[in-house]
Amino acid sequence: MSDTLFLLATFLSAVAAGIVGSILGLGGGIIIVPVLTLFLKLDIHYAMGASIVSVIATSSGAAAAYVRERLSNIRVGMFLEMATTSGALTGALVVAYLASNVLFLVFGLVLLYSAAMMYRRRHGETVAGVDSDRLARRLRLNGSYHDARSGETVSYNVTGTAPSLGLMYVAGVFSGILGIGSGVMKVPAMDLAMRLPIKVSTSTSNFMIGVTAATTAAVFLARGYINPVVAAPVALGVLLGSFVGSRIMPRMSSGLIRKVFVVIVLLVAVQMILKAFGISLGQGADLK
């Protein structure tokens, strides 16, 4: 495959990954790494490096909008970021000691988990009846936001602050090990443990992902996992794709499409796990 063709193929794959990721709310990382490794047969380290760069770009772009709309709870985000960044630093440093097979296995398992989360996703909007816990009150983590759909201002309290720190540390470690944003772990933690309204959870998670990813990326940069030849088309492609995806998403909220994608993610998860054991299913483009 010629060089320019490779760049083009990578770019287009990244655009597709960005579109799918933004429709599913899964984030680019979890989609782009399997695409790069299974389809384009790239080394997983370079895939992770390219992924983390695109994660920073898409999350910061989205966060800019959410922060402006006052949907993100910056205090909760910053508080939890103590744990996520620590986890990300730990995870990113550990990558050097893990064989590629292990990375594939962990990735496959995280994909399985994501598919399960996608399948379970039914959310109600109201959070009546939650009292802030002591730490949340001390730190004044509670807040309110303006719900564009109902036109009301919704106030909410925050609870479960201590367990959330633990969950966020774990989410950070996975971000560091796999080069993903871990939004798939952050949102449920805020949703279930802290009982935040789902809109606040997703927008705060977006706000946090950039910080976590930057911590991971700083280590990746020095370790040489960020290959410019891969990272450039991927970063540009995923950003474009998620922009396009966010435009077409409102028209695509049908449950059937989600179910189809859950199946696809499951298949990809299985492939990643097989690859960990050295079994390659032989499809995809070979560029060398």
Binding site: Y46, A64, V211, V230
Partner: protein, 144 residues
């Protein structure tokens, strides 16, 4: 004191504008700038794969294979800067990546300043902790 806090960031203004707007603008500017740099680097890269004149053709297959030892592109911020000035496409792209990585760092620094200005010292400490972890990642990883 369980007073509903309608502005989770506090009521601070920084540089005369609301904190949220500053952060939001910063994030957007950082992403756009880094993407522009990356695009320039990519253009240089494409050019270098086809130009048969003074530039050497880039060995892309070699660049894509992963192995032990030092990678064939700069891995520290000083090296990236040197290469970018020399218009090495790989270094330019990595410069864009570095700008992107630094955007959230800057955002956390702005939050720190805001909390200090509001005299919210608990959150200033929390934010400082986050900033320290990020700085540590730059140093421990070896990039800085």
């Amino acid at each position: 004191m369980n007073v509903p806090n309608t502005q989770p960031t506090g009521r601070g203004k920084i540089f005369g504008k609301e904190l949220e707007i500053v952060i939001s603008t910063l994030l957007r500017a950082g992403v756009l700038l880094s993407m522009a740099i990356i695009a320039v680097g990519l253009a240089l890269l494409v050019r270098s794969t086809s130009v048969s004149g003074t530039g050497e053709r880039l060995d892309m297959a070699g660049l894509l294979s992963y192995g032990p030892g030092a990678p064939p592109f700069p891995a520290t911020i000083p090296a990236v800067l040197r290469g970018a000035v020399a218009l090495d496409p790989l270094a330019v792209i990595l410069l864009g990546a570095a700008v992107l990585v630094l955007t959230p760092v800057l955002r956390v620094a702005v939050s720190l300043a805001a909390f200090v200005l509001e005299r919210d010292y608990i959150f200033a400490a929390i934010t400082l902790f986050v900033l320290m972890v990020m700085a540590l990642s730059l140093v421990v990883g070896g990039a800085a």
